[in-house]
Structure formats: C-alpha cells, structure tokens
Subunit: 398 residues, 2 copies
C-alpha cells in the first residue's frame, strides 16, 4: 500500500490557505513540534534538571537521533552523529578525508556546489596551510574529472539552484576505483530522495535537517562516517563530547570509539526535540513512495507552467530522475514574481540573480496545491501584476 | 534598592521541595521558557515560515542576543556573537589569537582549566601542525608565568572544580604589558559574577549559556572579540553565515564586517528562544547584587557545613572574593553523599574522584534553601546513610 500522504499533510502546522513550496529551504513545523519541545522543557529539563542527561538519555541523543537519520539514508546503525551545523560537520569530514588520503593534493567539486561547502573547503586548505587545490569543474564534467590524481570527491547530491541530481552510485563507484575518498552533502536530498549511502559505498556524508527533515530553523546537522573508517578517522575539533570519557576530566584527549568521536561540544537537546517530532512522521512513510509522489508533483507543475507561463524557463533537468524535489525557473524579474506569489499565499523562493525555486515535499504538498499554485502563478504572469514588486529586493530566504 | 531575588525565584520552574544547587552545571528553566519556545514555533515558524528569517529577525539573533550577553559581561555593543558550542567558539578564538600574535609560540594556561579547553588548544596545535607549545602551570603560578615569550594567555576565570577565581583585571593587565593576547573562558562566571571585559581590556572571551545563564541543555555559546581586533581577526571555519552576503551565493568567501564574521553556519533559532527567556529575568537584577547575595549564600553554607560536617574539607578558596558562586568539598565517598542528597531532593553534583560541588545562583536559591540543604547534608553525614550508595557510581552531570 502506498504511503498515506493525505494523512501526513494533516500533521504539519501550515496556515490555512498557504501553499508552502519552500520546504526545500526551511521545512514547516509538525503539529507536535511545539508540544514535544514544551514537554522536554516542562517534564524533563524542569523536573529532572541535571539528571535528565542520564534519565532522559540526553547524553545519547546525538547517536540515537543519528540512528534514526541513518535509516533515512540507508546507513548502518551507529554511523551517523547529530549536532552542530552543516558547516562544522563538513569541516570535520573534509579534514578526516584529507587524513585518510594524504598522498594526493586535489579536492574535486563542482561549480554548482553550495558555495558554503566550497568556502569551508578552501578555508580549511588555507587555515591548515595545506598544499591542496580545490578544483571545481562543471557538474557534467565531474565523471571525467575523477582521476587517480584526485584525493577527495566532494559533492552535493542535489544542486541547490537547479535541482540537478548527481548519480551518487555511479560517481562514487568510479571514485572508489580511482582511490578517492568521497564526501556527499545531502542537504537537498535527505528526507525526500531514496539514498543508499551504504550501497553507494561513500566514505562520508553530511547534511542539515531543517529542509526536507523539517527540524526547524538552525536545527542540528549530521555527519556520516563509513563504518570501515571509524577506527581511523580523526576529529579536527577536539571538544569534550568527542572524548572517550568526557566526565572523567582527564588532562589528555582520548577519542571516543565509533561515531561518538565525531562529537564536539555539548549537544543541542532542545533543538533536537523538534527534529524528533518530524522524524516521527517521516518514519510512517516509504521513501520510495515519496520519490514517486514528488516526481508526480513536479511533473504536474512543469506541465502547467509550460502551458500557462511560457516566459518562465525551466532550468531543472527535464528528466525527473536527474533532479531532486525542487524546480528552478529562470525569469529576469523572478524576485518580483516570488513576491507576488507570496501576496497570494504561495511561498516559493528566489535565488539571485534570476531564479525562482519551488520545492515539492509530498509530506505536506498535494496535487491540489500544485494546481492551485500553478493557477495563481499563471494569473500573476498573465496580468503582469508582478511589475509592482520589481523594486522590493530584500531576501534572506535560505 | 537591592534586586528582588524573592521575585526572580518565583520565575523559575523547579519542582516544589527541590533545592537545586547545580545551576552551575545546568541552569533550570524559567517558567516562560516553554511558552516562549512554543510561541516561536507556533506563531513565527508555523505562521511566517521561511519569512521569519526577515520578519522575526532570526537573521539578526546571533548579534541581537549577543548584545544582550555583551551587557552582562561589560562588553561594548556588537562585540559578542551567539551560536555553536563553547568548544567551537574556543577553537575560533584560539586560531584568531594565534594569527594576531604569530611571533611567539607558547599558549599559557593552567592545570585547573576545563579539560576541554586544553583539548581544543592542543588539538588545534596538532591539526594545524603548529610549532606551538601548550604550557600549563598551576593556577597560582600564572602571574609569574606571563612573560614576553608567551603568545596567548588562555584561562577560565572560575575553576570548574574548586571555584577558584582568577583576578582577570590583574592578569590581563600584565599580559597586555608583556604583549600577550588574552582569551578568557567565562563558562563558570557569566551571569553570576560582575565581569568588565572592556575595562579588563581582554582580547577574546568565550562562554556557554547553559550554566548561570539558564539557556537550557546545549544552548548556544558566545564569543567576544575586542572591537579593536574586529577588522583583523580571521575566522578559521568559513561557513556561509560568516560571509558578508550569505545569500548572494558568491563563489569566493568574503568575511562579513564586525562580529558577524565570527558566525559559521545557520544559527540555532529555537534553542536561542529559551536563552532569551532567561535573559529577560537576569536583566531585571543588578549583577553586583547577585555577587553579594551569592557570597552571603556560600558563606552561610560554609559556616553550617564547617560546624555540622567537619569531615567535609572545603577546597574552594576561603576568601569569597577569590572564588565564583560554587563551592567544592572533598570527601572520599563524595559520590555516595551526592546520591543521598538527591534522595532528599537536594541536588548538587560530583566530580571525580572525590569532589562534591554546590552552586548558589541567587536568582533561585535563597537563604532558607541553604539552611535546609545544610541540615539535610548534616543528617546524611551524621547518620552515615550515604554508605548504602557507595556502589552506585554512574554520572554524566556536567
């Protein structure tokens, strides 16, 4: 039986009448998020106080929630840790990868990668004064650029602009054959695309949880380390929670065993509670069903837009299997159009200089939403009402 | 008029009958914490969705809440940023300090520093392959060890074990005369001790917010950078929120101006809401009054314990001005005693191998609490009832 998306839609707290096509940037809250966080504060923190670290298993949250995320990405138990931000987890993964492959001096990425990933990589090279080169090629040149002189393949599976999806299995396979270490950023894929990190035999993966995982603004990130590396990886930031016995307060750092060694500081317990509320819902559906449903939704939106708004140019791949769950359209005054859509309670987002993005998370977006949003978009484009918003540029949407 | 601590005590959510002497490890929630977090989730995140980044000023939270903390520590506006964990903020401060003082090769700290601070420092030296030495001396030798060959003075103001307080003004003054860069960890002082970081002319300060600032388990940390350094400091971890224009998605990293450059990833908005609820209360009192009150409370507890429990050896400084707001007593079976106290709803904590710690935050601890806790401790010690808890060692209290 196919997953019940009519049911999951009821479990999200989105204003009536709003069509939220920006879950790829910040997922909406579940209806239980507020209660679960309140309950953590009132029933655990307030009642058990410091004892909650043991009695409510706070101490294990980074790993126990990591294990829930591991399932979502096809990873083995005890290979994922939750905490910090995606920037930090990426920084750790890159350093660990460099230590595993010290003979070569090239980090390969693509020009469509999320800029922050590239900042982190170049920043690490500079700070450590490494004789490394960050080589970025066009996404379509990645396959041919995977050669035996490259140390690390560092890619985001789904391009935050275009939605173009890399073939993780194929690229990781070639990388492995050529002796590279692979790091996958799953920010724009986890929670909506089937991922089998174990089958792909990737070495590292990172991601945030505030997009398709609906963990909330600034919710903690995650880091996956392939089990075969866990004994050898080195954590560049040696905080006490990565220590084998943080509360023995030894003078010398001794790394924890397993994935726990990739922890850094005190884990963000309150933020993690909101994330857990969302995982409760995600775990009721089949991720393959989500993929199919999100393809149906994106195909429908493309079809409607093509027919009604020929002036909008789709820059996402035509083939649904080559893209993630969001679509991007080029239009010179895209910012103004996005503003007009918001005035009609259709929320997409804009990426400088001319991209309109729309995300389709089947957990809370249905066909009717797509048809309605398409209709409104068509009206806005046909009437030219977006013209009045041309001068309003100010956006922080992520 | 002295601050009204009878009033603030009413604003914390602590179980009736519980005397919480562990706010130095994890502060208790305020009664409004749950509502403020719920309101953020239900009124902002749910209703404004992605637009909250602008409309609810989420984008400014790291700096706006940083400014509230700046006031608590006597720092100028726009010199404190909130986010990440204390480990991360320490890592950033150390790197920035090294870059400001590259001629010398010694980081000076003391053997009473929080071990994680020392892990971070040694880990940074190792990861960057720096020709640096982390030199730790006894706390009382710090003053004489500040010489012109030392690059960085890196201290925690209040010792997490003994409560011994460094003289920040005096040590920073000498460090300045000798050309050192100073980094102060304020984890065990902020929110309960008067700090004047500006007057001290410290270069950097870091701290967590889950102790005397009552921000909640894993609440975000903070980093202070002296305004005179803001143009020159370098952020070792170059995440997008430290970029001057994160949402322009430029290929090249260009640091933000001012304290914003020390941000890394997406800020933890939900966790920050609980912290703000606590700052609301702290801002109603005078920090000098808190200091006086906490001294009265600790003096009273010492007096009672001296009289009734002579077998417990105070290892905190006798002079109240030389210690923070917690006390530590040595007792071979301290762990068992702490367990017995908990059975009577008096919560202190234990530090291996033999330390019992008790914290006195005047915001929610009053004289009656101290007298009652002393009475219970006395009973436990006199009756020997702690003996039954000798074998129960398991503690994660921080």
């Amino acid at each position: 039986m196919r997953s019940d998306f009519a049911l999951t839609k009821q479990l999200f707290d989105i204003p009536d009448g709003t069509i939220y096509l920006d879950g790829n940037s910040l997922g909406p809250p579940t209806k239980t998020a507020s209660d679960q966080v309140s309950s953590l504060i009132e029933e655990k923190w307030a009642k058990l106080l410091i004892k909650s670290w043991n009695l409510d298993n706070w101490i294990d949250k980074p790993k126990s929630v990591g294990n829930r995320i591991a399932k979502v990405m096809g990873a083995k138990k005890n290979s994922v840790i939750v905490g910090d931000t995606l920037s930090i987890k990426t920084y750790q993964a890159l350093y660990a990868a460099i230590k595993l492959q010290p003979e070569r001096k090239i980090i390969l990425s693509d020009s469509g990668n999320f800029p922050s990933d590239l900042y982190i990589a170049q920043g690490l090279i500079d700070a450590l004064n490494l004789n490394y080169q960050l080589r970025t090629v066009k996404p379509e040149q990645i396959f041919e650029s995977i050669t035996s002189e490259v140390a690390i393949l560092f890619l985001t599976e789904v391009d935050f602009r275009t939605g173009r999806k890399h073939d993780m299995i194929k690229l990781t396979k070639k990388a492995k054959e050529m002796g590279l270490i692979t790091i996958w950023d799953l920010a724009h894929s986890i929670g909506v695309l089937p991922i089998n990190i174990d089958k792909a035999e990737a070495d590292f993966a990172v991601g945030c949880t505030y997009k398709y995982l609906n963990g909330g603004p600034g919710s903690p990130a995650f880091l996956y380390v392939a089990p075969k590396h866990l004994n050898n990886v080195d954590n560049i930031i040696k905080g006490w929670f990565g220590h084998t016995a943080p509360f023995s307060f030894n003078k010398a750092y001794q790394p924890a065993s397993g994935i726990n060694k990739m922890q850094i500081g005190t884990p963000p317990i309150i933020a993690t509670a909101a994330l857990e509320a969302s995982l409760d819902i995600l775990e009721t559906v089949n991720i393959q069903d989500m993929r199919e449903k999100s393809i149906e939704l994106t195909e429908l939106f493309i079809e409607e837009t093509k027919r009604n708004c020929p002036m909008l140019k789709l820059i996402s791949p035509i083939c649904p299997y080559q893209r993630g769950a969001h679509l991007a359209f080029e239009f010179k005054e895209g910012y103004a159009v996005i503003q007009s859509l918001m005035e009609h309670n259709v929320i997409g987002d804009f990426r400088y200089p001319n991209l309109m993005r729309f995300g389709f998370n089947p957990l809370f977006i249905c066909e009717n939403n797509v048809l309605e949003a398409s209709k409104i978009l068509s009206k806005i484009m046909t009437s030219g009402e977006w013209n009045k918003n041309i001068f309003k540029i100010k956006s922080f949407v992520t």
